[in-house]
């Protein structure tokens, strides 16, 4: 495994969940840097701002589905238009508490979504996922 300077971007409108997931990732030590965004718009803005600085690119995104204004699916619609270079670098999983069958199937069907992780986030579940895609992630 090359450089282990992973950055993860958490997108969730719920600040308690953001705090919890930040803590869980921090304690598990999967990533060196955790970037928090309180909305899909904020997430897009972060990526846009750093498009010319690949070293600031996140390696991994954990995206919530139910958010006001721009929800997870709308985020993905914009997200898919980023350069292939960026999309090759950064992988994405959904992290949601949804039990809605339609939402679950829709998330699983999206080619950009590695997996739908259910809240609460379990470190070993995230680890398994990261491990499985470690080559993709380059971390």
């Amino acid at each position: 495994m090359p450089n282990k300077t992973g950055k993860v971007l958490l997108i969730d409108d719920n600040d308690i969940d953001l705090k919890i997931n930040y803590k869980i990732i921090k304690l598990s030590g999967f990533f060196d840097e955790i970037i928090l965004c309180q909305s899909g718009e904020e997430g897009i803005e972060y990526i846009n701002k750093n498009l010319n600085e690949p070293e600031a690119w996140p390696d991994f995104i954990l995206l919530d589905i139910q958010m006001p204004e721009m929800d997870g699916f709308e985020f993905l619609e914009i997200y898919k238009n980023f350069s292939t270079e960026f999309l090759d670098h950064c992988k994405l999983a959904i992290l949601s508490s949804t039990l809605d069958f339609g939402d679950i199937k829709k998330a699983e069907a999206n080619p950009l979504v590695l997996k739908l992780l259910k809240k609460p986030l379990y470190p070993n579940e995230l680890q398994t996922l990261l491990h499985k895609h470690s080559t993709l992630l380059g971390i």
Partner: protein, 359 residues
């Protein structure tokens, strides 16, 4: 009780008939008259008429033609055709295309016509009542859907946050820092989450029309075992799946059925059993899927076997929700599947299920 105002429109090209009609019925009804179909239509467009009576033999437009022309635009008023001669063809046409309620011969008998108008108004009311009930029902259904959606999101999200916090407490080694309080909070939270999940499964099962998607049992069972053994890895699984043909069925319900049975097989193990085992055998044919789920768990008492599929049945010793197997049974009913159970306290429990292949 106040007598409802019945609005009657009578169309006839003979002024005398209109006058006679008025004279006979003006005390009972609110009467509108028209000398031609065109004039009648004008009234229909401006007044909320309940019953329309039209003479068949009129110049330009006949009664039947008029009724035909308003089938789409004014479907609600009940139609009565008046005719001086018996023309079978016109009659058949009227019934088949004009949506006619009654056919009355001229000269009319006041009592007969009065009764017909009364009945026609009842029919009108029943039609409108039914439509209002339908609208109401649609609204209730809509609200229920929104309620269910909000249970699955708004109500569950904070609960999941609580469970997340408990996990953090464990990660930071604080779980035993306050006596057993954390574990009590955890038990309650998990129980609440379980109820929310089962309630959703139940409503979704009762409401949705069966869908048809392709099912790969190997993948599905694998995922479900992963899901249910996440927190409890004591139970060993022997899975044998023989699927060489395509299987089409209701993905949501089949998942619910297997998920509940697998979860039960894990949950109701004997605590002192060293070799906790669940065997899952699935054999898929063109015709159906035969599923056997067998465990060496605590088994079900003979006197309980008949009741396990009823809602809220729970045995005294084990704290289930009384919903799991009830939902399994309901889901199987929806997709024409069957379930049989055999069990005893020594060997454990076997569920045999069949689900028709809809390919």
């Amino acid at each position: 009780m106040s007598i409802p105002t019945v609005r009657v429109l009578y169309i006839d090209d003979e002024e005398n008939n209109l006058q006679a009609f008025r004279a006979s019925f003006r005390r009972q009804y609110e009467i509108y008259t028209a000398l031609s179909a065109a004039e009648g239509l004008l009234i229909l467009q401006n007044v909320d008429v309940h019953v329309v009576i039209a003479d068949q033999k009129m110049p330009n437009t006949t009664g039947v033609e008029f009724f035909k022309s308003i089938v789409e635009t004014h479907p609600d008023p009940i139609r009565i055709l008046l005719t001086g001669y018996t023309d079978i063809e016109a009659l058949a046409d009227a019934i088949n295309h004009g949506d006619i309620y009654r056919y009355i011969t001229k000269p009319w008998n006041d009592l007969e016509l009065h009764n017909s108008i009364k009945n026609a108004y009842d029919a009108y009311k029943a039609k409108i009542d039914l439509r209002n009930k339908m609208t109401e029902l649609e609204k209730t259904n809509d609200e229920l859907n929104r309620f269910i959606y909000s249970i699955s999101h708004e109500l569950r999200a904070p609960l999941v946050s609580v469970i997340g916090i408990i996990n953090l407490v464990k990660m930071e080694d604080l779980y035993h820092s306050s006596g057993e309080y954390w574990s009590l909070i955890e038990t309650c939270s998990n129980k609440l989450d379980y109820y929310i999940q089962k309630t959703l499964q139940y409503y979704k099962n009762t409401k949705d029309i069966p869908d048809h998607s392709e099912i790969d049992f190997k993948q599905l069972v694998g995922e479900l075992i992963d899901l249910h053994t996440y927190s409890d890895k004591d139970t060993g699984f022997n899975v044998s799946i023989n699927q060489n043909v395509k299987f089409v069925g209701d993905a949501f319900r089949i998942e619910v059925i297997l998920s509940n049975l697998i979860s039960n097989a894990i949950k109701y193990q004997k605590s002192n059993e060293l070799n906790k085992t669940v065997n899952i055998e699935i054999d898929v044919t063109d015709h159906q899927a035969n599923i056997n789920i067998n465990d060496n768990g605590m088994g079900i008492l003979k006197e309980h076997l008949e009741k396990i599929f009823t809602q809220f049945f729970k045995s005294k010793m084990h704290h289930g929700s009384g919903l799991g197997l009830f939902i399994v049974k309901e889901a199987l009913n929806k997709i024409n599947g069957t379930i049989n159970v055999s069990s005893n306290i020594e060997d454990g429990t076997t569920f045999k299920i069949t689900i028709p292949n809809a390919k």
